[in-house]
Chain length 202, copies 4
Amino acid sequence: MEAGTRAREATDLGRLVAFTDGVFAIAITLLVLNLDVPSVTGDRDLDDELLKLWPELLAYFLSFAVVGRFWLVHHRVFAGLHSFDGWLLGLNLAYLSFVVLVPFTTEILDTYGDHRSAVITYAGVLTLAGLVNWAMIRYSLDAGHVHPDARDASAEAARGAALYVPIVFALSIPVAFIHPYATMAMWVLLVLARPLSRRVRR
Amino acid sequence: MEAGTRAREATDLGRLVAFTDGVFAIAITLLVLNLDVPSVTGDRDLDDELLKLWPELLAYFLSFAVVGRFWLVHHRVFAGLHSFDGWLLGLNLAYLSFVVLVPFTTEILDTYGDHRSAVITYAGVLTLAGLVNWAMIRYSLDAGHVHPDARDASAEAARGAALYVPIVFALSIPVAFIHPYATMAMWVLLVLARPLSRRVRR
Amino acid sequence: MEAGTRAREATDLGRLVAFTDGVFAIAITLLVLNLDVPSVTGDRDLDDELLKLWPELLAYFLSFAVVGRFWLVHHRVFAGLHSFDGWLLGLNLAYLSFVVLVPFTTEILDTYGDHRSAVITYAGVLTLAGLVNWAMIRYSLDAGHVHPDARDASAEAARGAALYVPIVFALSIPVAFIHPYATMAMWVLLVLARPLSRRVRR
Amino acid sequence: MEAGTRAREATDLGRLVAFTDGVFAIAITLLVLNLDVPSVTGDRDLDDELLKLWPELLAYFLSFAVVGRFWLVHHRVFAGLHSFDGWLLGLNLAYLSFVVLVPFTTEILDTYGDHRSAVITYAGVLTLAGLVNWAMIRYSLDAGHVHPDARDASAEAARGAALYVPIVFALSIPVAFIHPYATMAMWVLLVLARPLSRRVRR
């Protein structure tokens, strides 16, 4: 590959990343639209109604953390790419189409958090998103799109950070048959509480 | 053109592309707002209601794929530009004004998928978007804005990828007079199923 | 100013422009949320209802063209900057706060296009946006933030393109006292029809 | 650190900043969705209804100024970074999760501006956002992520601009027990009226 092509390739990759970042930024920000201002009618108090928002707020912060974590993994993996092809573009679009569903599945969770099928829908979309993400990293490695210096980090991501989220959410689906709240407790513990120190080692 | 002007031109083009990517990223993400959380009343089950969302989800993935494909073509064509002018800016804005309509026409399709005029509206907007896109590529070539190295790829895009979407959607309009569902089947087959391998050859 | 500071200044300016582009891209895309899917009840036909959307679509394309034109002017003026300061940041934020109102005033126009006060509100916000934009360009020139090579172009923008939109909209306000539709006709003629050829001369 | 790693680090930081700018741009633009087109029924006049929007517009401009000010501080502090780590990424995400809440707390304020708990919610979220922002700056300094040339400016931001907003909003919470409007007057005076001249000294 000559220098000019390489430079153009780098610009292209930059634009792909910029588009992806835009989609992530919008999807994470749209989460706020799920929070509904309570309507205070009769003799109920606004204080009480605002306090009752905590499950919606918990779902908001959980989804924010999940989408943020997806972005972090994407960010780290794409920083190691030195080329890409049409299949990778297609996988990236498919991946984004699941990430963009998160504000919707969060809204389902907000509304029907005590229903098993709401919990399974939420976990299912995140499992799928995580699997496509994992496939994208594996494909990048196999097709030789990862810069030699970054191969170890990407391979580690494919084994670790990128698989962590889909495994947690896949495992949480059967738990929903015990109780929806058990599933949610599992998410909060395993997603929010995962030691940040892991991410320091880069 | 001296080096300074050339550098400024490159920055300008970068900003035009960044703005366009932003609009694409937002339009594709707003598609999620069309998905409505079902309201479960009486003795109906949430499971059933969620399963009944499949036509909305199909419309979501179809529009995501169409807008994503538009972005890919734009991305490839603009990577080959080395200059631009006011007409190209105007055509690009006109093109974006049709792309941004897609979340709206998708919502019409969600609500009235069995009405012929909903299907025709959806196909019509995409046909127009595709035609403006095609005109933009033709104009770039004719006005000498395409880098010599990229002329062949752009000319191929003008004949191929860029015309594919408007032709599919234009041809699908008369099919709607047979049955709206026949039109939709045609879209899914021809848009989602178009071999990705084509995109690998870059 | 030493080379390091200059480089940092350029990065800063790049980030300011990226943030501004993001706001423009979102504001222009949110215009689509004003289009309401018609509800077909009783014996009315979807075809008729869709055709009745034309005033909403006209307002959509008008606002898209206005925001797009604002972006073009901003783009051209900021391409000529080589530094900025806190006042320019403040003016830019104030300017954006009026641009972001456009989806709202467009919605007012959609709903009450035959009311004089709706038309005046729409024109008033655009007049204010245009004036802040003009003040921003004047300030950039006076404070020496414009690169010497770009001074003529910026001064021309301050006299021409940047003043065109606020003058058209300011003059259209008294016309609303004749009839709201006369005002709208004036906008369409003067904004959409302004020769694109002007923009080619860069 | 070798040159290649340094270059990759710079790209990474650029992508982090681009993502953050995207979130800020969307959050600030979503504020417009809180403005509701008045419904004119019976014999009330649109003029009157539009004039009655002033508290909503005031809340809009206040939140726009607050989010804009947050962005300015972020912009200035991140311009001085030459590296980052996982903790900083985590703090930045936590910070963004509070910034993204602003359109929601603004909507609460729009609807229940005369309720003490609405005012406290609004001030509370901004206090938290400001504290996380302050912690992020402090951490950057302590962990050695700030470029030596920028250390003084960042330390000054940590003592000044970054603490100003959370202190104003924290102090305004007890004032809400006197009257909600006293709190709001305090915000407008202290946030909107803070001399812009401060920002010129960079």
